[in-house]
């Protein structure tokens, strides 16, 4: 259940992380793994998919030491998609919470 949930929402989480500021793959994994478990292997296929959807674009930043690093940034379409996803997510969480509260209320009612 948790895996299924996470798979569906991982796109949203990555978009949300990017909405806070442009980032690169390793940093994105670190940001996400502070709060949730992420497989490092999923990150690049996921980023390629988001790129194919034109929700993110990339640019290279030259570094003083060693080769340049690839940064990901949200596109206008990505931003629109993120707010759509967030709205759906909030509605879904609200629905689930009200059902859970109903069930909890009935349970306490029965014990009382």
């Amino acid at each position: 259940m948790k895996t299924q949930l996470k798979k569906g929402t991982l796109d949203m989480c990555v978009l949300a992380a990017l909405a806070a500021g442009d980032s690169y793959a390793y940093e994105l994994v670190s940001i996400l793994s502070r709060s949730m478990e992420v497989s490092e292997g999923t990150m690049y296929p996921l980023m390629r998919r988001l790129q194919a959807e034109a929700w993110v674009s990339t640019y290279l930043v030259e570094s003083a030491s060693g080769p340049s690093r690839k940064y990901y940034t949200l596109t206008a379409e990505g931003r629109r998609q993120l707010s759509l996803m967030q709205q759906e997510w909030q509605e879904f969480v609200g629905d689930v919470n009200s059902v859970l509260q109903l069930a909890a209320g009935r349970a306490t009612g029965e014990t009382a």
């Binding site: 793959a25 999923t42 690049y44 194919a52 080769p67």
Partner: protein
């Protein structure tokens, strides 16, 4: 597995990808290793986190082929998609062979329909061109019919039989009751037969010599302009219908295949999700 081994395996498995795309992917993973090392991790730890490079490459190849097919819908690209999905070990070989055969049949059917359509168009176009510009001349077979009719009704009564010195024979046989008639010419070189059936049309043509024979039955050489027009329209309708059917089948097949491919890629994603 260390970084070098991981990158090498990925590079080998992606050998058939365009160079630019391959280099971009490799650069992505090299960057990831650099960042991981800078964070104090070992190469083996990072490689384990990224997963099996072979499996990663198979998935990247499949996605690449699907994207290319969506970009340019050629048969070659379609075969590449089927191959890539089969390469992921998810569409097994036994399933792939009849599927490729089906694709081949579909291609043949599409070609045949195109041929019929072109035939109809040529016939129709010739007729239309003749109608508009009087060119090219269309030889309606009324003359042939007329001669046959005269032959069957007029002339001296009775049958004609001519015998040559070297065994040549010419036989003209008429049956006034049924309206059937035939001319039969035979020599040492071969034979020619023409038969006229009851409906005043040329019913059968047969030419035979030592090298071979031509035998055309069920002839109706009384093809009029109307007949040509109808035949042309019928061929066009048949060809267009066949092509449309092939198109529907191809689209349906493609959607099914794409859904199957996406489903398999989804299974991969899920499988990786569980590895966390």
């Amino acid at each position: 597995m260390n970084q070098q081994e991981f990158i090498r395996q990925l590079q080998d498995a992606l050998a058939r990808l365009p160079q630019q795309e391959r280099q971009e992917i490799i650069a992505d993973y090299q960057e990831y290793f650099r960042d991981g090392l800078a964070a104090g991790r070992t190469e083996a730890d990072i490689a384990a986190g990224l997963g099996d490079p072979q499996q990663l490459a198979r998935e990247l190849m499949a996605r690449h082929h699907i994207a290319r097919w969506e970009d340019r819908k050629t048969l070659g690209n379609l075969f590449a998609v089927v191959g890539a999905i089969a390469g992921m070990g998810l569409l097994n070989f036994l399933l792939a062979v009849p599927f490729l055969f089906y694709l081949w049949m579909l291609t043949m059917a599409a070609l045949a329909s195109t041929g019929i359509l072109i035939g109809g168009l040529v016939l129709f176009g010739t007729l239309a061109c003749n109608e508009l510009f009087g060119w090219p001349a269309i030889h309606e077979s009324r003359d042939v019919r007329a001669i046959w009719s005269d032959f069957a009704q007029g002339g001296p009564a009775g049958n004609i039989h001519i015998r040559g010195r070297n065994g040549e024979t010419v036989d003209v046989v008429r049956e006034a009751s049924s309206g059937r008639a035939s001319i039969h010419i035979q020599s040492s070189d071969g034979t020619v037969s023409l038969e006229r059936n009851a409906s005043e049309a040329l019913g059968r043509l047969q030419i035979k010599d030592e090298t071979g024979q031509v035998d055309i039955g069920g002839l109706d050489w009384g093809l009029s302009r109307h007949g040509m027009l109808l035949t042309g329209l019928l061929l066009m309708a048949l060809g267009a219908g066949g092509l449309f059917l092939c198109y529907l089948l191809a689209r349906w097949t493609w959607r099914g295949l794409l859904a199957y491919g996406r489903y398999q890629l989804g299974l991969l994603d899920k499988a990786r999700g569980r590895d966390v």
